[in-house]
């Protein structure tokens, strides 16, 4: 597929050739085009998720620029006198007034606002899905650990971008969101109040916060996101793209289409597809109806006040903490109802960020990996991932506990208590269920590779025995099934000074936990033996052998 085509001779006269030659003579750009144009990208839908994030960010930049032409990041009080009747004559900040002006009195303003907001939701969602793809296929392994961390930073920055944007219109919903953040900050021991006063320029809400968030939202954070995206993509080019196992695919090559002309056309087209989907959604579905929320006022809080989805997990964690975890000690208030959830969130995010390093340490694997794992083939990692997803999803769902209660006719207390239990037991159950499913799928793969698939044809042998005829699978399919990494639990060995350190013991224990239950991959001999043998008797065996046994 990736055959190098001859670069056309520049002998031909024509405008394009002349222009290209003109450019090349002055910029030496042909070297870049040659390098990048022949860069190969493998083709798989899951490899496009990062691109979705990139494209929605581009959409956000375009629409955001339009919005800055009209938005006033000021908390000066004005009286609304625009087109929306139920707010006429109401006092509000200049920020909300200008957002309403964009919405109702700037041509196309509401559409652009909705595109911007929907694209923001899609941006973070596609980052999340992209991260899951990377995690479950083990694409974070050497040499890509640092790029995982950069991607993680982008995820956090995207959330920060989203939240600052959500807070800008200074409507009732965004003000309540900020109030929760203010409460979170103030709940931190010793420094909380100071940080809050520093951030808000005095007591909440003050008159400074919208201006400050605006600077963050349109200057600092986008600059950082852009810088990290650039770095992220440079690393993708440097490392080359991962690919799934298949015939002809090795750790040394990449099988796919070159950027020019195929992939550039596909990716360019996909940009417009993503843009189109966002615009379609934005033109049909309301998002953030600030005209309903009205101006921020610290006293009213609407039922169903939630953050945008990507902050939901933090909001949900706050809702899951049981009451009465606040007490006075040493003349200070210790808000463990704030401290504990903040700690849980920080630890959860830190584990996610550091997972590549943890797994690399446990496996002791120093090799480079360019073939993406099938999730089932690394059962423990997939199970850990599933547990993490369930933990996150439970916190996330808890943020909408009130709506779950009303829509499923439940009591809000039972919803909360169920979710509290699910926060602890859900990940554990998910871990074991996923691990067993993965191992079962491995067994199925092994049986397919050895004995082929069930043809559904029942044959009676002369002796009276009935068998179902199995058809062998093709060589191509078998390759996919048998190319699997295998790790054995680490052997506990004394170091050069004859000692076994605690960290060695820990590492060995973790390694045992990771790889104790596993299927050993098929050897060539086994496959050949099965091929000669016809239908087989060798059932896959679960190897239980740790090093000590």
């Amino acid at each position: 597929m990736s055959t190098s085509t001859d670069t056309p001779r520049l002998k031909r006269t024509g405008f394009t050739a002349a222009a290209a030659n003109y450019l090349d003579e002055r910029t030496s750009i042909s070297a870049v085009v040659k390098e990048f144009g022949r860069k190969i990208f493998p083709d798989h839908w899951s490899f496009l998720l990062g691109e979705v994030a990139l494209y929605s960010f581009v959409v956000i930049l375009i629409t955001g620029t339009f919005l800055t032409f009209f938005f006033q990041a000021s908390m000066a009080e004005v009286v609304y006198n625009g087109s929306w009747v139920p707010l006429k004559g109401i006092e509000m900040s200049s920020a909300l007034q200008s957002t309403l002006h964009i919405t109702f009195d700037v041509r196309g303003g509401l559409l652009v606002r909705q595109i911007h907001h929907w694209a923001a939701l899609l941006f973070v969602a596609s980052i999340g899905l992209h991260m899951m793809r990377i995690f479950f296929t083990g694409a974070f392994r050497k040499p890509r650990e640092l790029n995982w961390v950069i991607g993680f930073l982008l995820f956090v920055l995207a959330i920060a971008e989203g939240f600052t944007g959500y807070s800008l219109p200074d409507d009732l919903l965004s003000g309540n969101g900020l109030r929760i953040i203010d409460g979170l900050i103030k709940g931190l021991p010793l420094v909380g109040t100071w940080i809050s006063f520093l951030l808000f320029g005095g007591e909440f809400p003050g008159t400074a916060i919208v201006g400050r968030l605006y600077t963050l939202h349109i200057l600092l954070l986008p600059a950082m996101v852009l810088a990290f995206i650039a770095l992220h993509l440079v690393f993708v080019v440097v490392h080359k793209h991962t690919q799934y196992a298949g015939p002809g695919r090795t750790q040394q090559n990449v099988v796919g289409y070159p950027i020019l002309p195929v992939y550039a056309a596909k990716a360019g087209g996909f940009f417009f597809v993503v843009f189109g989907v966002i615009v379609l959604i934005a033109s049909l579905f309301t998002i953030n109806p600030i005209w309903e929320y009205g101006p921020y006022d610290p006293s009213p809080v609407s039922a169903g006040t939630q953050p945008d989805w990507y902050v939901g997990f933090a909001d949900g964690m706050l809702r899951l903490i049981p009451p009465h975890w606040e007490f006075e000690w040493l003349g200070r208030t210790w808000s463990f109802n704030i401290i504990v959830p903040v700690l849980i969130l920080v630890i959860f995010l830190a584990l996610a960020a550091l997972y590549p390093f943890i797994e690399a340490w446990v496996t002791g694997d120093k090799r480079e990996h360019h073939i993406a794992d099938r999730p089932r083939n690394n059962a423990t990692r997939t199970a850990i991932g599933a547990a993490g997803v369930v933990f996150y999803a439970d916190m996330w769902a808890a943020a909408s506990g009130d709506l779950i209660a009303t829509h499923f006719k439940l009591s809000i207390e039972s919803v909360t208590h169920t979710m509290q239990l699910a926060l602890i037991f859900g990940p554990i159950i998910a871990y074991f269920v996923t691990k067993r499913i993965c191992i079962a799928l491995q067994k199925k793969d092994r049986s397919l590779a050895l004995h082929g698939y069930e043809s559904g044809r029942i044959v009676r042998l002369p002796g009276g025995e009935y068998i179902e005829v199995h058809q062998p699978i093709s060589e191509y399919d078998r390759w996919r099934l048998v190319s699997q990494e295998s790790y054995a639990p680490l052997m506990l060995r004394p170091d050069s000074r004859g000692r076994i350190t605690m960290s060695q013991r820990l590492r060995a224990a973790l390694s045992r936990w990771f790889y104790e239950d596993r299927l050993t991959p098929l050897t060539q001999t086994e496959i050949e033996a099965a091929a000669h043998h016809g239908h087989g008797d060798a059932q896959p065996e679960l190897e239980e052998a740790g090093p000590q046994h």
Binding site: V52, W118, A125, F270, F285, T286, E292, G304, E413
Partner: protein
């Protein structure tokens, strides 16, 4: 609770310096003070009384018919003379408004015990409901069914919207989409509820709702609130489908399922191998 409805800073301290030390000044001052206090009090209490939206009294025939209906349908729980039992409260003094709301929206008679009475198709005709209301109103004075001038949505929507956000939105949501309360109770969605029923709910405080009496929210302000709710129902969201007006949760759910779902489907399509 209610938005302050006093006129802005009515402190007129017109200083009369000339007659200040006159012997009768003290008496005059007390007389003026008493007169003012009494007058203002009378005015303040008179306004709601005058404004509180009364409809015409019902005939004795209605009361009698209502009593029969009551004894046949309500007395099991509320007692033969509406005096209340262990399982249901007394209805003496709840007024016609309470009956019109509870029976008119189908909440009463209750279908089953639960955290709160649920809305259903009304069991009685409009006429029967009015007869029941007349009977209960005849037992003792109470809030009556409001006049249509307060319930037809001809007030000030902006004023009503602000009052709604301050007084109602914490349970009913800013767009009246409803919300959860404790232990399975809930504030219902206000879409499709008639102005009369909203008014009656405010003055009688059904289920877990507090009473917003005429001092708290004046009849005119109630009319404004009804106007706002009427406005957002008659003017659908300018942004397109409103996703139930449930806010970011509905938006997030939509984005993940339909937004990201369609994007993934398209990505699969784009990378699919040609057969």
């Amino acid at each position: 609770m209610a938005k302050l409805n006093q006129p802005k800073a009515a402190s007129e301290r017109s200083s009369r310096k000339r007659g200040r030390r006159h012997p009768f000044a003290t008496f005059a001052l007390i007389a003026i003070g008493l007169g003012l206090t009494g007058g203002v009090y009378a005015a303040a209490t008179a306004v709601p009384a005058a404004a509180s939206a009364e409809t015409t009294a019902s005939s004795q025939a209605d009361v009698d018919a209502g009593q029969k209906l009551f004894q046949a349908n309500c007395a099991t729980c509320h007692g033969l003379s509406a005096e209340g039992t262990d399982s249901a409260p007394s209805l003496i003094g709840v007024g016609a408004a309470a009956v019109d709301f509870q029976v008119g929206t189908g909440r009463m008679p209750m279908a089953m015990d639960g955290p709160q009475a649920q809305e259903k198709t009304p069991q009685f005709t409009d006429k029967e409901t009015k007869q029941l209301a007349a009977y209960v109103a005849s037992l003792a004075p109470g809030p009556s069914i409001p006049a249509s001038e307060y319930t037809d949505g001809k007030g000030d929507a902006a004023e009503g919207a602000e009052l709604f956000r301050i007084n109602c939105a914490m349970c009913h949501n800013v767009a009246g989409a409803g919300g959860a309360l404790t232990e399975g109770k809930y504030a219902p969605a206000l879409k499709g509820v008639t102005g009369t029923h909203i008014y009656e709910a405010m003055v009688t405080g059904p289920q877990n709702m507090p009473v917003f009496n005429d001092q708290n929210i004046t009849p005119q302000q109630k009319a404004d609130i009804i106007t706002y709710l009427d406005y957002i129902q008659k003017n659908p969201s300018p942004g397109g489908f409103a996703l139930g007006d449930l806010g970011p949760v509905a938006e997030g759910l939509f984005l993940w399922i339909f937004g990201l779902g369609s994007i993934v489907a398209l990505a699969v399509w784009i990378t699919a191998k040609a057969n």
